[in-house]
């Protein structure tokens, strides 16, 4: 497996009147070619800001801090000039959003919007009619019945699921290597959500693009992700393969997230695990572990020093003091990898 994107020490801050909001605080991760990476976390944890950085869409008052690096196939994209960004966005890397009705142009026919992306990146010098043909093929590919008629429709004439399909067609017509999907199914009904997720999986197999999936729905993550990155307060607290994270979570935050949703396939009415308190103020984030104030297993050291990221093998990394051999793990309901073993 080769790496497509390599994010190194990315920090993003927003300078507001209240102070510097540190949205993302020094995160590093890789995205493999053709794989799906899910970014998971509560609202305000920095998952959307991370994905926007990948497309160079951080606008004032937001600033990508010095020392941050994002390598895309070996090139540091944060050093791109406007012209290079223009060639990159939509061609190498596309994005789809939560609300398709807002993201599509309401006064432009669907076909034209899909064609526009390819016209902007027309490296193969296709003629207008060829582009139109490609656009219609894309509509067929994303499963829109009667694609010919759909080309001449406006977004409001389509249903939510169909609009989401149109957005996917627009994003993928240039054959990008990376697709960023920011909560693509949150606004949809479950049956439509299942259709769209299935479609994304099929298209990935066919076109081989890598997907970054931003979502808070753990069910969706379990279904589609190869790799999971769990973010909390602008930092990565844990990352690993789908199965590692679901069956072997090592961070108390990850564990609580996994157990806070009831399972449809299990018959239990026990109390759900909750995470008391709320996320820390990102203007003045704690120097220690950010989860410490909400963590039921916090030790003295958690409030003093930030835990280092520990590699547990198999690409499973976690940043938690509980992995330390000296940690007090009495009462911790999951295997921490640390503590005294008797």
């Amino acid at each position: 497996m080769s790496t497509l994107v390599n994010v190194k020490n990315l920090s993003v801050s927003y300078f507001t009147y209240a102070g510097e909001v540190q949205s993302v605080r020094g995160i590093s991760f890789d995205i493999e070619k053709g794989k799906t990476t899910a970014l998971v976390g509560e609202s305000g944890c920095g998952k959307s800001v991370t994905s926007k950085s990948l497309l160079g869409l951080i606008e004032k008052p937001g600033v990508i801090k010095e020392g941050s690096q994002i390598f895309y196939e070996g090139k540091n994209i944060l050093e791109f000039k406007d012209k290079e960004w223009f060639a990159f966005r939509g061609k190498e890397c596309s994005m789809i959003f939560q609300d398709a009705l807002v993201s599509l142009n309401p006064t432009m026919m669907v076909g034209k919007q899909i064609m526009e992306n390819l016209q902007n990146h027309n490296d193969a010098h296709l003629s207008q009619s060829e582009i139109q043909k490609r656009a219609q093929e894309m509509l067929d590919l994303v499963g829109i019945p009667d694609s010919h008629a759909c080309m001449n429709k406006y977004p409001h004439e389509l249903s939510g699921g169909m609009r989401q399909r149109v957005m996917i067609a627009t994003a993928l017509i240039t054959n990008p290597k990376l697709l960023i999907a920011d909560e693509p199914t949150t606004a949809l009904d479950v049956t439509i959500q299942a259709q769209i997720l299935e479609l994304m999986k099929q298209l990935q197999k066919k076109l081989g693009m890598a997907i970054i999936m931003i979502t808070h729905d753990l069910g969706v993550v379990a279904d589609i992700a190869d790799e999971i990155v769990v973010m909390y307060a602008g930092k990565i607290v844990e990352r690993g393969s789908n199965e590692e994270i679901f069956y072997n979570p090592r961070h108390p935050y990850t564990w609580a997230l996994m157990n806070s949703v009831p399972r449809l396939d299990l018959d239990n009415k026990q109390e759900l695990v909750t995470i008391e308190g709320s996320i820390p103020d990102m203007i003045n984030p704690p120097k220690s572990c950010a989860f410490c104030s909400r963590c039921p297993y916090a030790m003295n050291i958690c409030a003093e020093y930030e835990p280092e990221t520990v590699d547990l093998g198999n690409g499973h990394q976690v940043a938690c003091w509980l992995t330390d051999p000296r940690a007090d793990i009495t009462g911790v309901p999951f295997h921490t990898g640390g503590g005294k073993h008797e």
Binding site: D189, A194, S260, V261, I275
Partner: protein, 323 residues
């Protein structure tokens, strides 16, 4: 549960809207069910299936086109002024959007105290204060929050304020319209735990509407599945997942993502094709016929009735005609 008295009885409820050009939108079409005292009935369905309209009509917020809703034996839509006033003290609602449903100009104290004042539940100012603080404590807020404005609170805290407001008048019946869908996962669990705890303590009867099936299953005793204004299945919540009878319920359940990679990969998924048809011009016969893989001739022409197939398990589908 079934031996307890009936709290809410809905018979042949219909709610139609005029959609212009002589067309009629049948939001709720001929629905009947009962809710027993102390029970939680969950209603699930996709957007536009009429679950909110049904709930709102049940608690008298909307006038029905036809049909009847009886709460403790009295017709909800034909109450005298005095009865209407008593009714509002017994039946309360929790709304979906905690940002839109609380007055941003009011202090938390006043929001919670309003119901107590209207229903004259406190004799003195001190008693009122004690009651408000007790309520805030019950939902997990503390006394220093009382004098703050709503805009200072996060979504989860606002939802708690909404719950405290609903509980202020000591209601017997709670209508929760998607109370958790605007919240983060960890906060959702808090609200659900809180509602289940309060229900046990106060013996509340609840009508719980949500599109998150796993949450509905977790909180409800019985679940009703709605599709295009019709009730297609009604069953005890554990039975519904184990043995869904209606093809729509089956597809709906199989579409819910499960937070377990292995289980998610191994289970059989039923993909529904197409979208929900427009309620202005629904298919004749069974409403689900256009998307159903087991559709037969009779489904296209005749509307199935809700029938009891197993004790407590009702379904409206022609597949079960011969049982």
């Amino acid at each position: 549960m079934n031996n307890r008295p009936v709290e809410l009885e809905v018979t042949n409820l219909c709610k139609y809207y005029n959609a212009g050009r002589k067309r009629v939108l049948k939001a709720v079409d001929d629905i009947s069910f009962v809710i027993h005292k102390g029970e939680t009935l969950g209603i699930v369905g996709e957007s536009g299936c009429g679950k909110t309209t049904c709930g709102k009509t049940c608690i008298g917020m909307l006038q029905p086109t036809s049909g009847q809703v009886k709460y403790q034996g009295k017709d909800v839509h034909h109450l005298t002024k005095k009865e209407r006033f008593d009714f509002s003290g017994k039946v309360q609602m929790i709304f979906q959007d905690p940002y839109a449903s609380l007055d941003p100009h009011q202090k938390v104290y006043d929001i919670v105290a309003e119901g107590i004042r209207i229903h004259k539940l406190a004799q003195t100012k001190e008693e009122e204060e004690r009651m408000v603080l007790e309520l805030l404590d019950m939902v997990g807020l503390n006394s220093e929050h009382a004098m703050r404005n709503v805009h200072e609170f996060s979504g989860g805290q606002r939802q708690r304020i909404g719950i405290a407001r609903a509980l202020a008048v000591n209601p017997e019946f709670l209508f929760c319209d998607e109370p958790i869908s605007a919240l983060d996962v960890s906060i959702q669990a808090q609200i659900i735990n809180l509602l289940m705890k309060l229900q046990k303590e106060k013996d509340l009867t609840m009508l719980f509407i949500a599109h998150d099936l796993s949450m509905v299953k977790h909180i409800s005793d019985r679940i009703a599945v709605m599709y295009l204004g019709n009730m297609v299945e009604l069953s005890p919540s554990s039975d519904l997942y184990r043995k869904p009878l209606h093809p729509y319920t089956e597809a709906l359940l199989s579409a819910v993502p499960i937070a377990d990679p292995k289980a998610s990969r191994e289970r059989k998924k039923i993909m529904l094709t197409g979208d929900v048809p427009s309620p202005v011009n629904p298919p004749a016969g069974c409403r689900f016929s256009g998307r159903c893989s087991r559709c037969t001739d009779i489904c296209l022409n005749k509307r199935p009735e809700l029938k009891e197939i197993e004790p407590g398990h009702f379904v409206a589908c022609h597949l079960y005609n011969n049982l």
